[in-house]
């Protein structure tokens, strides 16, 4: 397995585990990781979290509003119809924190990277363009019964062999 994939896999596994365990949503992975350009066009709701230690990087979870609403509904047990609702955004942020925290712990325990997380940021807006300059990003598309999501994992250039 390439070093890049070794770093990416814990994030993808953590997405699937966290969605299933905390929101009862099964995530279907569609295809393999592919390289991304610096610009990401959002599905509608995105949460980004940075990590730093011996290497640096970013984890971005992008999803259609229908996924965000179902996620919040299943986790909080209340109905929401606006993805910009404060509780929906707080849910997505915390889910991202759990996903990234879990993945980073696995990487720290395996490779002693000493990674720690910064607080997550959240953005809304369909087709909003998110620019991640100077960073190599790999992405993989995923599907759920409620809509699509995409996972972007990036490590600072120069960290991969």
């Amino acid at each position: 397995m390439s070093q890049g994939l070794q770093l990416y896999k814990p994030f993808l596994n953590s997405v699937c585990d966290t969605f299933a365990m905390m929101a009862n949503i099964k995530v279907y992975i569609e295809g393999a990781f592919s390289s991304e350009t610096d610009e990401i066009t959002s599905y509608g709701v995105s949460s980004i979290i940075n990590y730093t230690g011996k290497i640096k990087g970013r984890f971005l979870l992008d999803m259609q509003p229908s996924v965000a609403l179902t996620l919040a509904q299943n986790v909080l047990g209340s109905y929401y119809n606006n993805e910009r609702d404060e509780m929906v955004l707080a849910t997505i942020s915390e889910m991202n924190n759990v996903i990234a925290g879990n993945a980073v712990s696995i990487l720290n325990n395996r490779y002693s990277l000493g990674l720690w997380l910064s607080p997550p940021y959240i953005f809304t807006g369909k087709d909003a363009v998110i620019v991640l300059p100077r960073i190599r990003s790999a992405s993989v598309g995923c599907n759920t019964l409620y809509g699509k999501l995409k996972v972007y994992i990036a490590f600072e250039r120069g960290t991969e062999k």
């Binding site: 047990g77 707080a90 996903i99 925290g101």
Partner: protein, 123 residues
């Protein structure tokens, strides 16, 4: 009589999820704290049967809070009543928690089953 639980976590979402899980287990949530400092104060005031303690929190982190609770309880120790619950599961941090007497550590993500299992270990 219902047993009591104190939740110490900076995420309202986690409070919500834990409260629902605990109620299913016939626990009453007697206190909600948003950081370790509030958690220690509520522990002293409420003397809960069990504490769910996050690690990364503002003001005072979970490990420091556990140490304060342990000091408050004296040699009897309070670690066994505390369930650490965190997305950060680095071996080094888990070892520090164990040194403080914490016997149960849940790594997020979690579901009701994980909570029930953890409760059975501290009861």
């Amino acid at each position: 009589m219902k047993k009591t639980a104190l939740i110490v976590d900076d995420s309202p979402l986690i409070h919500n999820l834990l409260r629902r899980a605990l109620e299913k287990c016939n626990y009453e949530v007697c206190g909600d704290a948003r950081n370790g400092k509030e958690g220690v104060e509520l522990f002293k005031k409420l003397a809960p049967d069990v504490v769910f303690m996050d690690i990364n929190m503002p003001v005072m982190d979970g490990l420091e809070a556990v140490k304060d609770i342990k000091d408050f309880l004296g040699k009897a120790g309070g670690g066994s009543r505390i369930i650490m619950l965190s997305a950060v599961g680095d071996d080094e941090i888990v070892a520090k928690a164990q040194e403080l007497g914490v016997k149960t550590f849940i790594r997020k993500p979690f579901n009701d089953y994980k909570i029930i299992s953890a409760l059975s270990m501290v009861e």
